[in-house]
């Protein structure tokens, strides 16, 4: 990859990130916008969980990550601390891969 390509990618990535904070900025206090923006994480985070767990190369897959997610879900349900949720999922996934 050339330096130009790396700089272009950096610039484009920053432009996407800056849309909300820099471009919208102080205008982001109006009622309807607040409600829409407030709901975005509710729509995005569960989708992020699903994609990080079940997405393969353009297909749905069921692998050791699903075991980790199941352990994480159990820990969340039991109101375990964040560290336990993450650590439990990591350990369960590693163990599944080691024996599978």
């Amino acid at each position: 990859m050339s330096w130009a390509a790396i700089l272009a990618l950096g610039l484009a990535a920053y432009a996407l990130k800056a849309l909300g904070l820099v471009v919208l900025g102080p205008r982001a206090v109006e009622g309807t916008f607040l409600r829409l923006a407030g709901l975005l994480p509710a729509a995005l985070l569960p989708a992020l969980v699903v994609v990080n767990t079940f997405a393969g190369d353009r297909r749905l897959v069921l692998d050791a990550r699903a075991v980790g997610l199941a352990v994480a879900a159990l820990a969340v349900w039991r109101k375990a601390p964040f560290v336990v949720v993450v650590g439990g999922a990591v350990a369960a996934t590693a163990l599944t891969r080691a024996i599978a």
Binding site: L9, P26, L39, L40, A42, A43, L44, V49, L69, G88
Partner: protein, 234 residues
């Protein structure tokens, strides 16, 4: 939860957030090592690899870009796949905009570089504007430091730890996001948005290029806004 009291904008940050941000940072750091190794193997110099992590600073996009280059794909394909994966950051920026609406321009310009999965998830899980902004900075800076340190180490020292997947570290992220999604699912509108987002992502995983299923999931907010009556403090 219609009777939930409105969040106090000045509510303090829960003390465990600092540790939680570090946990995510360390997991990201190990993938940073992996990225450093992959990028240099794909032909980038150590300098290019490190500048990429500093400037682009969005892991999935960087892996996609150097992955395409490593397998002999064209530059256009590399940049295209990287940008599709980075597109979700625009939605994160919109989600974070109210938290930073009253911040000075300089602070918003710097914060924008830290708008990624981890910082947005940790920030929006907090109650109140002040705690959100503090959680955003803590997580964003932790991830930035670990990602870039990992990249440098991986690029210079090479493959010392093998694949992070062997240690199950790829499972850290969905687990963390699951925990951080929970506060958003307390309201009915949040649950509708979440269910629609998941459905959109599942349908698109086999149909669309990587990155698209997550950005498209943002459309899940519209059924929630249109069909769920507004709740106080939602």
């Amino acid at each position: 939860m219609a009777d939930a009291p409105p969040a106090d904008p000045e509510a303090p940050l829960p003390p465990e957030v600092r540790r939680n941000a570090t946990v995510l940072g360390v997991a990201v750091g190990v993938f940073g090592l992996s990225f450093g190794v992959l990028a240099t193997t794909a032909g980038l110099t150590v300098g290019q690899t490190c500048v990429m992590s500093l400037l682009v600073f969005t892991g999935a996009s960087q892996f996609a870009a150097v992955g395409v280059v490593a397998t002999g794909g064209s530059l256009a394909t590399a940049l295209g796949s990287a940008l599709l994966l980075a597109a979700r950051n625009a939605a994160y920026g919109v989600a974070m905009a109210p938290t930073f609406a009253r911040a000075p321009l300089g602070r918003r310009v710097v914060a924008a570089q830290l708008v990624i999965d981890e910082s947005t998830a940790m920030a929006t899980a907090q109650e109140g504007r002040r705690a959100r902004e503090e959680a955003f900075w803590l997580t964003g800076v932790a991830v930035f430091v670990f990602w870039n340190a990992g990249t440098l180490l991986g690029a210079v020292a090479g493959d010392a730890i093998g694949h992070p997947e062997v240690w199950g570290l790829d499972a850290a992220f969905p687990a963390g996001y699951l925990a951080l999604a929970m506060p958003h699912l307390r309201t009915r509108a949040g649950r509708v948005a979440g269910a629609c987002g998941v459905a959109i992502a599942l349908v698109l995983i086999p149909l669309a290029p990587a990155g698209v299923p997550i950005v498209a999931a943002a459309l899940g907010i519209f059924p929630a806004v249109l069909f769920v009556p507004r709740e106080p403090a939602s």
